[in-house]
Symmetry: C2
Subunit: 310 residues, 2 copies
């Protein structure tokens, strides 16, 4: 069995949301214990991860050092998090595998994902990113060409493009390594967004939705099951109301209907629901949304919101 496991960027931080290096390492160690258990059952696991809090930190560094060192664009920030999260996940996983007497090895692939240069996401910026600033502090960035939006009492926030992933360019690398027995970390942050241009490739300032990237990678590498591990155990109907109801096993058609009724917030559960639906609609056996603590049961279809054909 081949499983694509998507770890939330927020799941790779401390409980209070801080993303110090030690917080990320501690979170990686917890998650990789479950992955090592899966690998020891001879399941091929491909891991991807979010990077929202980590990219947020890098953007602040860009901003505060801009007069001294050249800022790097958003695609570079995403690349940076692929390597840092990749190597701490590998360190944690290799140790967990060694404790179980496994000879399997981990690998991290720097992964580019192609988007369309004319994706509507580039004209309508929908993804808020980084820290909130006052209008005054945001203005120099706006003069530099960035788009910032008044987000109410918390302040202003940068908005960036979130184009749809079209092709995992480095999927052949991932497949070659999975076939050779490696537990592969790939496509972090949804992939480094690049466009084709004049016969070449060029990184673009955008953030690909991690969950849609996970679905595309899962299908590209022929995963049987997609598991999205987030910070809640289920997708929930009527979330935040007295009638809130966690969703267990659900046919994909019914989940699409519920999504159309507006049960899932566009910035958080919405893309996860869309990703698991796409995966099952296009031939995946089943897909699961659950939390980090339940990864092993989720892979077996025994925890979380389990989306099945039908």
């Amino acid at each position: 069995m081949r499983v694509l496991l998507a770890l939330g960027g927020n799941a790779m931080t401390a409980a209070d949301g801080r993303a110090r290096p030690e917080d990320q390492i501690a979170a990686a160690e917890v998650a990789m214990e479950s992955v090592a258990d899966l690998v020891n059952r001879d399941i091929d696991v491909v891991i991807t991860h979010g990077n929202g809090p980590q990219v947020g930190n890098l953007l602040v560094k860009n901003e505060l050092a801009a007069t001294v060192v050249p800022p790097v664009p958003l695609d570079w920030c995403g690349a940076q998090t692929q390597a840092t999260l990749g190597f701490i996940l590998m360190d944690a996983l290799d140790a967990a595998l060694a404790r179980r007497g496994s000879t399997r090895r981990s690998a991290t692939v720097v992964t580019r994902t192609r988007v369309d240069a004319d994706d509507p996401g580039f004209s309508r910026l929908t993804k808020p990113i980084g820290r909130f600033l006052s209008k005054e502090d945001a203005e120099p960035m706006i003069e530099h060409g960035e788009t910032w939006e008044d987000r109410g009492e918390k302040g202003w926030r940068r908005m960036v493009a979130s184009p749809a992933p079209q092709e995992i360019l480095d999927a052949p690398t991932v497949s070659a390594l999975v076939d050779a027995g490696f537990v592969v970390v790939a496509n972090g942050g949804g992939g480094i967004p690049v466009v084709r241009e004049d016969g070449g490739l060029r990184g673009v300032e955008a953030v690909i939705d991690k969950d849609l990237g996970a679905d595309l990678l899962a299908r590209t590498v022929g995963a049987d099951v997609l598991v999205i591990a987030t910070d809640v155990p289920h997708a929930v109907l009527r979330f935040g109301t007295p009638e809130a109801e966690p969703l267990g096993r659900v046919p994909v058609g019914r989940l699409r209907d519920l999504a159309a009724e507006g049960h899932f917030a566009s910035g958080s559960m919405g893309p996860k629901v869309d990703a698991v639906c796409r995966f099952v609609e296009r031939g995946g056996q089943y897909a699961v949304i659950s939390n980090l603590d339940n990864i092993v049961d989720a892979v077996d279809g025994n925890a979380g919101t389990v989306v099945v054909p039908g």
Copy 2:
């Protein structure tokens, strides 16, 4: 034929030493034209690269944003540069290969390199890194536990450990991909330094010499030839004097003697000479030190300082 090509970190910047993203992309595009020519001759090329200027920039960002976002340690900075340089090298190489009608693909491997926790490099810090500061500006960092040294009229500079690389932990990943036909970028900056500890792996604050890392990677993946591409066309005897003499073809025993006589500066040409000697002494066919413009001729042994057995 299998070739390990090591690109200098300074060679991946603009001529004036600036390391803006566009400078690094332009340098990558130039270098990858030569690599594509080699690949088109059916040579297996493994690429590694330095990262001194790039890590220097990241350390400044750490410093200037430290009150707002958590700084990341030196091993994380090294990891970050593996992904950014890796993906721009891939973009440039894939385009150059496509223009030549080649179906070969590139891949970038996040690479950890094991060092010994009791390496003497950890007690005697020899590697200067990052920008120069006044004594006053360096003092807060010294109070935070960093080592800074008075480097004369330019000011104070941070000194870090430069332990010897013992084992390229992710070499099996590199080998699997090379065997599958990929042009692999790996072990950037000499590798992310990690130590074994309590049965696990832990990143450490250090910088592995990129050239010694290149030698170890070359031998580990069974390269026939090691080429170190830097910003000068040859190693030079009596460098900077009226009797300066570029070194062409030279037996490794003779080069060791010249090194012992003190011809090569410890911070620049010294480690490159040491790396090429090690490679040839341990069974490599030949090794070359030359500049980026001469990569193709250097691989053929027809340019630069060509070190042969004997």
